[in-house]
């Protein structure tokens, strides 16, 4: 009985319940902004989940993860502009392009270690950023407005905010489920083994490079899907989506929530974005509070918020 009341599980249940009821809340209070805000939270949480897969479980700190958000977004935007409106084409293309990019980046970057890995992933993201700026036909520096959201037919209209919200929520839950399945599979155990001692894993016969590369590609593909959702959400894409501080935001969400924890990225994304939003209503200078808060989390909270919840259980 007591196991069901542990703070970590309780927090996750309450959080999911709140997320499930956001559209109802918006309906009742007539505050549609809540849906808009939380749709964004869900999408970025999905990106953070994908980053957590490589960073939290695999120890691969990618400082260029926003590139996949951008690639997914641009896949949707460019196809929409060229008259291909079907989501059945747009979304798979977004996933495929991101996966392909992750394959290239991963196969080159995974040869390096530590900070060099952080920086080479950043370099690739910056390259995509500058490519997007150079895409004159698709808005260049100013970005591109998407006039029609992805079409799925059969009465599924993504312009319906509530429907789109639940699509995002469902995809987020699926991605969390998938990452836990991956992490606990034999494949995932190899990845985690490589994080704690790669030489040992190689010595006992696992080609860790290949395992890590596949993991990196899965994460890229997942984040590309989040990018496709984000483009549909904002109806707009711009190179700014891929600027290095956006990648920093994603890292912040994952570390804040709890590295290598299934629901950590979601907790982190909700906390970070909700805090940002709440503070921006109170003060013009929200960074003065968020900045030191992140610093304090870095100093005092080992394992992020999830680590705190775990620790609370032990007391």
């Amino acid at each position: 009985m007591s196991a069901r009341l542990e703070p970590r599980r309780a927090t996750i249940v309450v959080l999911l319940a709140i997320l499930a009821l956001i559209p109802l809340y918006a309906e009742l209070t007539g505050d549609p902004f809540a849906i808009t805000l939380f749709t964004r939270v869900l999408i970025l949480a999905m990106a953070a989940v994908s980053l957590n897969l490589i960073m939290g479980y695999g120890g691969m700190v990618s400082f260029g993860h926003a590139a996949y958000l951008g690639l997914g977004g641009y896949a949707v935007g460019i196809l929409a502009k060229e008259g291909v409106g079907s989501g059945f084409v747009q979304w798979p293309v977004a996933i495929a392009v991101s996966a392909l990019f992750a394959l290239v980046v991963g196969s080159l970057s995974l040869r390096t270690r530590g900070v060099y890995f952080i920086m080479i992933t950043l370099a690739f993201a910056q390259m995509v950023y500058y490519v997007a700026i150079g895409l004159d036909r698709y808005g260049g520096d100013d970005g591109l407005t998407i006039y029609r959201r992805s079409q799925f037919g059969g009465g599924i209209d993504l312009n319906n905010k509530t429907l789109f919200y639940y699509v995002c929520l469902a995809l987020l839950l699926v991605s969390i489920y998938l990452t836990t399945r991956i992490v606990n599979s034999r494949f995932g155990l190899v990845i985690q083994g490589a994080r704690s001692n790669e030489r040992r894993m190689r010595t006992i016969g696992f080609p860790t490079f290949r395992y890590k590369l596949v993991c990196f590609v899965i994460a890229g593909a997942l984040c590309g899907l989040a990018g496709a959702l984000l483009a549909n959400h904002t109806d707009f894409i711009s190179p700014g989506l891929m600027y290095w501080t956006r990648s920093g935001d994603l890292i912040v969400m994952v570390v804040l929530g709890g590295l290598g924890s299934a629901f950590g990225p979601l907790i982190g994304a909700v906390t970070y974005l909700a805090m940002e939003e709440a503070l921006s209503r109170v003060t013009e200078y929200s960074g003065l509070i968020i900045g030191p808060a992140l610093l304090l989390v870095a100093i005092y909270l080992h394992g992020g918020i999830d680590g705190l919840l775990r620790g609370a259980r032990r007391d």
Binding site: V61, A123, I133, L259, L294, L295
Partner: protein, 305 residues
């Protein structure tokens, strides 16, 4: 040809500025094993301090000196308050903490100096162009930047290679525990190194201030360039940082200057100019990726790591 000389000098100038930033970054990285994303904020602070003090004192040089002192002190205070607890932790904690500091400093600057940028005007004698070769004129201030930063680089070299402090710094970079065990006050050493790095970043910011607008977020782009420099050069290596800064400065500037013309040979004018813009911004990242693929520890890996 004249254009080439002028652009090469611009490249050297950018390289020297990058070196100032990268030297501090690579010292902090090499010695304290600390990833400092807030280094660009110190660059920004240097520029703001210079603009403010120059306006207060009415003298550019005096303003610059005061700004240098102010960033040195700010850097040391920052180290004691915020950075010290993070030593020895995972790099991700550094990223999280200093990303927070970056947000903090951006807002702090907006609060103190307002959202509009500032300008720092130069004394009139630096506004002229100097004849450096027969028929080749170059803005005096840019020459000043090159010469002064070269002097600072030389000074840094002397400090690091020829003084007791420099010896400790080098020793700290190769074996932290041993330096501490030999009775050196490692905390104080770290604070000094961080202050030195901050002052170098602030110095880069204040030298650049009259050329660019002093604005919020001005440190973010150049921070990434400085990271590229220290990665290419090899973390912890000042010599590597110098060589890499020169390479990056020259390639970036010359790419920007000549790629449009080169591409115009094969493409329409419009396409060439946009493509050249992207391509020249990408050049150094491609260079870095290529170098890391072939030399995963940079050009001059610090021997002990």
């Amino acid at each position: 040809m004249l254009y080439f000389i002028e652009q090469s000098l611009n490249g050297v100038q950018l390289g020297m500025l990058l070196f100032l930033l990268a030297a501090g970054l690579t010292l902090i990285f090499g010695i304290m094993d600390f990833v400092n994303l807030a280094h660009g904020s110190l660059y920004m602070l240097g520029a703001y301090f210079a603009a403010t003090f120059a306006a207060l004192t009415g003298s550019f040089v005096l303003g610059a000196i005061l700004a240098l002192a102010a960033t040195f002190v700010s850097g040391m205070a920052l180290e004691v308050i915020a950075i010290r607890p993070l030593y020895g932790r995972d790099h991700l904690d550094h990223v999280l903490g200093t990303f927070g500091l970056l947000l903090f400093f951006n807002e702090l600057v907006r609060l103190v100096w307002g959202p509009a940028g500032m300008t720092l005007s130069l004394p009139s004698e630096m506004l002229t162009a100097v004849q450096i070769l027969p028929g080749v004129y170059y803005p005096a201030y840019r020459l000043v930047i090159i010469l002064v930063t070269m002097a600072v680089a030389a000074l840094l070299y002397v400090v690091v290679m020829r003084t007791r402090l420099g010896m400790l710094i080098r020793a700290g970079a190769s074996n932290r525990e041993m330096v501490g065990a030999l009775g050196i006050n490692i905390k104080l050493l770290y604070t000094l190194v961080f202050g030195l790095g901050a002052a170098l970043a602030g110095f880069a910011g204040l030298m650049q201030a009259p050329i660019l607008t002093v604005q919020i977020g001005m440190g973010e782009n150049i921070l990434i360039l400085a990271f590229v420099v220290i990665i290419i050069g090899g973390i912890g290596s000042i010599r590597g940082a110098f060589v890499a800064a020169m390479i990056v400065g020259l390639i970036d500037t010359i790419g920007r200057a000549f790629l449009p013309d080169l591409l115009r040979l094969v493409l329409s004018t419009n396409a060439a100019s946009t493509l050249a813009h992207s391509l020249s911004s990408m050049l150094i990242y491609m260079l870095m990726a290529a170098i890391l693929v072939f030399r995963p520890e940079g050009l001059f890996p610090a021997a002990s790591r």
